[in-house]
Subunit: 262 residues, 2 copies
């Protein structure tokens, strides 16, 4: 059941036909494919390393997938035959102990690259925290391009180092922060990824949590009860508003940051 809930489209399916206007705007053969021009990965993601021709080649080999909430993308220790870019939604990376204890070890947002080069099988599981759309490529195509275009490897190195910084930041949270500090740090991290404008300067920020209470607990090394209690505490203290289970408003970003422990 690994791919339950995954719908796959081809980039050349009828729904994505370019119309005459679009064609007229990019007549050259090495201009970016129509579907790449609006893609975040083309600018901030790994595809930014490719020239027009390479991008066209990759687009020809790629396909769009829409994965519904909860579906598994990659099982632990499963052989992986493709890489992907996250186009929208949130992917959670998980590790599970033999007795079932689970830890979320990372979250991926658009336009992150999803996959583990240089390893036959993945060491972690990946699943859709929300509905996710992915642009997936065959492993072999990406690996050939890495050899032809060093810029691509450079982009992957930059993302790997950023993820490493994130992982180490969370090690501090997991190892040394209290439950209250963990929740505050988590809300701030989500806000910065989902509503960067508001979280940066503004005093308030509203967003839908991409995770259930159970996921948040698995991310912070807590139980769902503790997560719930700490959210309630922040609500009573007037720092957040809980519109419904998923939707949160941070009433005062500065005060919340003051409770994150750093």
């Amino acid at each position: 059941m690994a791919f339950a809930g995954i719908v796959t489209y081809s980039f050349r399916m009828p729904a994505s036909r370019p119309n005459d206007d679009e064609r007229a705007l990019r007549p050259q053969s090495d201009s970016p494919p129509a579907l790449c021009t609006a893609c975040e990965a083309r600018h901030r993601g790994v595809c930014g390393a490719l020239d027009g021709e390479q991008l066209a080649e990759l687009a020809r080999a790629s396909h769009l997938q829409v994965i519904e909430e909860g579906a598994e993308l990659i099982g632990d220790a499963e052989r992986v035959e493709s890489y992907s870019n996250v186009l929208s939604g949130v992917v959670k990376l998980t590790k599970t102990l033999p007795d079932g204890r689970q830890q979320i070890v990372g979250l991926q947002f658009a336009p992150d690259f999803l996959g583990r080069p240089f390893r036959e099988e993945s060491t972690i599981g990946a699943s859709a925290a929300t509905t996710v759309s992915l642009c997936s490529f065959p492993k072999s195509t990406v690996e050939r391009m890495m050899r032809e275009q060093p810029q691509l490897e450079n982009r992957l190195l930059r993302q790997a180092l950023d993820e490493l910084d994130d992982a180490r930041e969370w090690m501090v949270t997991l190892g040394r922060k209290t439950a209250a500090e963990k929740i505050a740090s988590f809300l701030l991290m989500i806000a910065r990824n989902i509503a960067p404008r508001a979280a940066g300067a503004g005093e308030t920020a509203s967003f839908d949590l991409p995770l259930t209470r159970s996921d948040i607990a698995d991310f912070l090394g807590l139980t769902i009860e503790t997560v719930s209690r700490q959210l309630t505490k922040l609500r009573i203290d007037g720092i957040i508003r809980i519109e419904n289970n998923r939707r949160i408003t941070i009433e005062n970003v500065v005060r919340l940051a003051g409770r994150a422990g750093d």
Copy 2:
């Protein structure tokens, strides 16, 4: 006092003079510099990506440092002007919260590469857990070579991905394991890095802990008292022998692994 306790040598200092026999063995101008031939980093580390000429050039710009136990290599948020290879000893990577709580977020052994490309200042602190020897290069030389030799970037990407796997492995340990499991996991990890032979197949393994109880606590998100109590418990159960504060013998690797939670 950032560099207290650091002794610096040049690679061309008298103590490292090549004798006639060594010269005779490698007459070509692009053969590896004498001091690189015996270096682990030349084979398993990043230097393996360089050809003879590049290696010679890098060696000319590099210098050997011996850092005594406890000395700080890089302060948090400090500007870094050089990269290094770890030649021997153990470097601990730390993060500290404003109120002083500390978390060790990684350990580096020979022949790991030390440094954070693409960032002006480091986001973590680094200090010598044991006496450490480093081979250091100017930032600019390494960065130019990264552009000239894509293989170098490939090596860095591989190391970054390995470190990311390690960091995520420890996130599980920090977030979901009990104190007893944390200590068992830690001892196994150290044994695998310091005494790989014995830890792999053998039933017993002896080694010197590269960390104090306080460091172990900071690595595992515990207090020194809990670390001490759990070590005592393993000793009483006949799984380890504590020769002295630093030296440990794992009497039964299999039984210890059974207590690591995975």
